[in-house]
């Protein structure tokens, strides 16, 4: 599947979708997409960076665990901006594996990304279905 993006503008609010192959080297494309989108929404540089990290982590999870068919699977990044809040849904085709701790007292690295999402976003929601997993991230602009 070729990478593609769609958009639909509705005044100040808008809706964008990016679909990429489930491959690690696509994360750069996702981050660039989010960076431009967040900047267009008026987020400052610190918040743009937070969004890049959180969405990147969700996509990395999707590539690692949500793609039983490997690069034959795809990941959708669906973004909607409304009422000064950017909602990003990362949708994959697999089963989510929650791994919450990042580092334990022995410095064993066990988590991947969920602490980042929780720390950097205003809302984090993980929805599972038979078709796949959706990680919903929301960041609001308070200025």
């Amino acid at each position: 599947m070729k990478d593609q993006s769609l958009s639909r503008d509705q005044g100040q609010n808008f809706y964008r979708v990016l679909e990429v192959q489930s491959q690690g080297n696509k994360l750069v494309k996702v981050r660039s997409f989010i960076e431009k989108l967040a900047a267009d929404c008026g987020f400052n540089r610190a918040d743009v960076f937070d969004l890049k990290v959180a969405v990147g982590e969700a996509c990395a999870n999707a590539i690692e665990h949500g793609s039983p068919g490997g690069k034959n699977n795809s990941i959708q990044v669906v973004c909607a901006f409304e009422n000064n809040c950017l909602e990003v849904e990362v949708i994959d085709e697999g089963v989510f594996k929650p791994r919450f701790p990042a580092f334990d007292s022995q410095l064993n690295y066990r988590g991947r990304g969920i602490p980042f999402m929780l720390a950097l976003m205003d809302e984090v929601e993980i929805k599972e279905s038979e078709e796949g997993t959706t990680v919903r991230l929301v960041k609001c602009r308070l200025y």
Binding site: V28, I63, L107, F116
Partner: protein, 112 residues
């Protein structure tokens, strides 16, 4: 964007200067370099993050793995970083208490 790694050594201390983005795709390159250094008996390492544009949990995981490796040989890893975005990543994971982080190379060299 790729990850470039420059390696320099002075007085038994290795300086790894990173340039680019450290994510799940590029972190294995950093891991490989750290593993090679430890295999070569280099246990005092400074990682310069000043030119790093992005780092995620994969990058942190590799740095923690490197720290565990050098510590098993009584070594140390110090970081150079003044970028607030990157420092935030270390703060929210509590790793500011694990890695000594300095503003410049001279301070970092003294610490290891």
């Amino acid at each position: 964007m790729d990850l470039k790694i420059e390696v320099d050594e002075k007085d038994g201390v290795v300086l790894l200067k990173l340039n680019g983005e450290v994510d799940v795709y590029t972190a294995p390159k950093l891991k490989s370099r750290l593993v090679d250094l430890v295999d070569q008996g280099k246990f005092k390492i400074i990682v310069d993050l000043e030119e790093v544009d992005f780092m995620d949990s994969s990058g942190l995981g590799v740095l923690v793995g490197g720290l565990k490796r050098v510590r098993s040989h009584d070594g140390a890893i110090a970081l150079i970083c003044t970028q607030e975005n990157i420092l935030k990543i270390f703060r929210i994971t509590g790793l500011v208490k694990v890695f000594p982080i300095f503003e410049n190379q001279d301070q970092a060299v003294q610490s290891v």
